[in-house]
Structure formats: C-alpha cells, structure tokens
Symmetry: C2
Subunit: 297 residues, 2 copies
C-alpha cells in the first residue's frame, strides 16, 4: 500500500459534509470556517531521521518546518504550532521544544501547545495553524499553465546521502537539517495550484496533476539545483538529475499559473498538459515518465 | 522531574508576548485570536495502554476523547480533529482513524487531518480545535467558591486495574476504553475555573488551585462514584476512596463557582479556601492532604 492509497482510504473514513470544513483531508492542509488552515506532520526516529544525525534542537526545527511548509503551500500565514513529543528522557523534550520554538519564531508563528510522553523511539508530531482568506489548493492546474518551482532541488536529498556515508558537515547536510518553509512567496504569486515538495518533484507534482486531472511535462535542463550539487553528487556516485527530480525534503513549492511570472520569483520548469502523469524531457529531447520520490510506505 | 515541572520549563522556552495568542501553554488548551481554542494529547502504547486491552478503534476513540476533553474543560465547542498515527502496519492506521472519526462525530467534531508514520510502538497524537467566545480557564477560583465535579470518579481507574488482572469485560473496563468528554455542561454552568480530570481529582484540582493561588478542602463522603464501584473494587483488594480521589481518565470536569448550582447538573464535593493545596475531610472529620493521581514522568 502506498502513502497515497492509504490517505485515500483515510479520506473515505473521515469524509463528512460539514459546513464548518471548507476543505478536508487530502490537500496539504485542511481549511476550517473563517479561513483557519490546519495541517499535521510527524518525524519518527529510524523512519525520517537517525539520532546521530540531528541534535534535539534540529529534530524540533525540522519537524516544525516540515509541518509549516504545508501552510506555505496553501498560501496561508503561519500562526500557531502545537508539538507532541515522544522521548525516552523527559528532560530531552526541552531541546526538541527549543528547536520547535526557534523554527516557529523564524516563520512568524508561536508554539501554543505541547505534550510530552515517554517512549523509546523519539518522535515529534507537529500541528500547525494559519490563516488564509483564499487558500491555494492542489487542484486548480489548467492545461497551458506553466509549472514553477521556488528554488533549487535535490540539496536535502544529497545531504541525507552524505550523512548515510558518515559525512556530517557542509551546506547540503545543513539544508537537510535546517530547512526553511517558503512563506515569502505569499502575495508575490497567484497560483492556480500549489504543493510543497516534501517527497520530491516527480511525486508531489504527480499529486498536483492527479488532483487537477491534468498531466505535466518537465524540462530536465530547467530544474534548478544549488551550485556545487552536481560535483558533490558525482563525488559520491550519485546522479544529480535523479536527486533533483526524486529527492524530497527541500520544502520548496511547486505551483502552476499562466506563464507570466518574473523569473526572479520562481523558476519555470515545465508545462501543464492534457492527460495524466508527469513526464520529463531530457536534454536530448526524449520524453520519459518522471519517477522517484519518497513514498512513506 | 514531574510532568508539571516539565511543562513549566516548556512554558519558559516557548513563552512569547504575541497579540495573536490570548492564552498560551499552561491551561488545558491555548486560545488564539478569534476564540480559536487548541489542544493536543498523546496516547502511547506501553505508557497509556497495552495493545491487548484495546482494539485499534478503541485506541482512536480514547486518544480523541482525551484531547477533546481539554476543549470541554475550556467551555469550547469541538470542531476539528487532526490525528497523527505511528503504527507498524500502515493498513492498521485505518482502524485507529475509524475510532478517531467515531469519537469526533460523537462529540460534534470532524477529523480534518491525518498523518501516518511507520514505527514499532503504536502512538496516536491528537490535536483538537474548537471555539469559545469566553473560554473558561484554570485560574479564576475564588475563596468561598464551591468545588464541583460533573460525574462519578474512579471508574476508569478501576477498569485499568481489572484489565491488569486479565478481566477485560464489564462497565468499568468500558468506561476506561470508551470515555466521553463533557461538552454537555457548556451553557449550563458559569465556572470561575475549570479543569478536566485526566490525571485524577487530587492532582488536577491541585493544578487548578495552584493556578488560582488558592487551596481546596474536599469532603470525602461527597465524592461521587458509580453504583457497584465500591464492591467491585473491594473484590480485587482496591480502595474505592483512593480510586475516586487519585484515579485518572474519567474525563469528567472539576470546576469552581459560587454554590448555587442545581445539584442535578453537578455534584458539590468541597470548597475553595485560602492557602494552597488540596486537603480532604474524611467521614470522621479528620483532615489530610489529598494525594494520588497520575504523573506521566
């Protein structure tokens, strides 16, 4: 069962017709009456990170930003963070909460609730609340729209691979450890559809396409990467193109809108087309299905 | 370190002066701008329950009600539930979500968000959102107020002890498995302070007293218990009075207000006094400190 299958089943279980819920399970976040936008994300030791790779503060920061990014993808403000920590040593929860508070503050939000429970496997569950008058959704992409991304991709995935090899320093590891959510695009863009890139461009753009019943074609040469990524990837035998297409946890946004955007704001990487699925045009002009990305199950 | 010490430290870390936060960490729930009330609670296998004691649906129900009860204690409505599940088998998350959806529905709320992560130790982290124009808090108790509780105490604690002995049927086990949160008091009472009884009357009323810089004296003979509790407790060598004073997870409310309440609405169990701490007057008139209750650390 894939994560998307599972979420579809959950959606069936919880689906209700309720006037207080403008948008329920299925988008990056839910929207309640009055433009209150809500989302949750979890970081579990062994699944999302290994203990030696992150300080307690890093765990708090990463978990909080991962959740906040869902609000950014909805065009919402970040307002409140609620953190539930499972941890073996109660006093260690303070480090996690400190990182959560730092991340909240850095994105204009406040930690308003916390819970600590004892357990051998460290996990952090972060619910975030923001507001949006007109939330962006995943589902409005139109044939002919351009596909944009808000920044370089593949850096966090390279950081993860470096950590797996025992190399725990440098900018790519730092991008994985201390991501930022892109609230700065709010007000600067008017997307027809938007999603945050937590599981990689191929997979997340595929979700956006499915939600809008459209397809997309990416231009491989257009996908932005950080300076030095290709060389650093090659040095450890990794393919930079695969990292930028399939690598998750950069927490940039992918969005669609008519192709009229100042290139300083976001990078145009492709086009919305009829049909379904995401294809990618290689530098030699050949088209293939865009694959890769992190399915949690 | 006790749970209360830990929460005090967390409060220091996250405390901010922010106009969007009317009431931050420290009460049963936080209050955001516009009367949005938020709380979180976690249920962790091995700490809050054992797997054989609960079906997956029960886990979802219990975890959701435990969180919703914090909203009830604030005099808020229940509106939205966001559930984050850690579970070994992804498909088992559906059972947990089904129980969460049932509990949400039974209390007038809707599940609007869910997250599933893989982990060997089952846990459920539930954030709840409601609304209250004038939230009740823990901190307003005044000397001379009566202390009320909304229903019989000790039933869930007896249920837990029966389960520990391998006796997994009957009404007390059911009270522990399938608690209800007391939203029905909303509109019927005007408390000066209120708290939900998740950790037991002695401990939770102590928190209410500390928040209000007052003390309380309970009348042992007045504390309500379910018919049959004393006999069922005695049959397994447990003390009914200790269960009703120290036993948690009944999710009734304790509140203070001037002594003018219709006894059909809530049971008067004591009085707010000057000083600090909770004492209890035994049937023979002697006063002692009220002890017992569940400290999570």
């Amino acid at each position: 069962v894939t994560e998307d299958d599972l979420l579809a089943s959950i959606r069936e279980i919880v689906s209700v017709d309720d006037p207080r819920v403008a948008l329920g399970v299925g988008d990056d976040a839910a929207v309640l009456d009055g433009g209150v936008v809500v989302s949750v994300d979890a970081q579990v030791e062994g699944s999302h990170f290994r203990r030696g790779w992150l300080s307690l503060e890093d765990v708090g920061w990463r978990g909080t930003v991962a959740a906040l990014s869902d609000l950014a993808a909805m065009g919402a403000t970040a307002e409140a963070v609620i953190s539930s920590v499972v941890i073996a040593e109660a006093s260690d929860a303070l480090g996690v909460m400190r990182g959560a508070a730092q991340a909240a503050h850095a994105h204009g939000a406040v930690v308003v609730g916390g819970n600590v429970a004892r357990g051998d496997t460290l996990s952090l569950h972060t619910t975030v609340i923001g507001r949006a008058r007109t939330p962006w959704t995943r589902s409005g992409a139109r044939v002919g729209d351009a596909v944009y991304v808000t920044g370089p991709l593949g850096s966090a995935a390279l950081g993860w691979r470096l950590l797996e090899r025992g190399d725990d320093g440098g900018p790519f590891v730092e991008r994985w450890r201390r991501p930022r959510a892109r609230f700065d695009l709010r007000g600067a863009i008017a997307p027809t559809a938007c999603i945050d890139l937590s599981d990689g461009l191929a997979l997340d753009l595929g979700r956006l396409c499915r939600a809008g019943a459209v397809g997309a074609v990416l231009e491989e040469a257009a996908i932005p990467t950080e300076p030095g990524l290709a060389a650093a990837a090659a040095a450890i035998g990794e393919d930079a193109a695969a990292l930028s297409l399939g690598g998750g946890e950069d927490y940039e946004l992918a969005f669609t809108m008519p192709a009229s955007l100042d290139p300083a704001i976001a990078v145009r990487v492709g086009e919305v087309v009829e049909g379904a699925g995401v294809r990618i045009r290689a530098r030699d002009g050949t088209l293939r299905d865009a694959v890769g990305g992190h399915q949690h199950f």
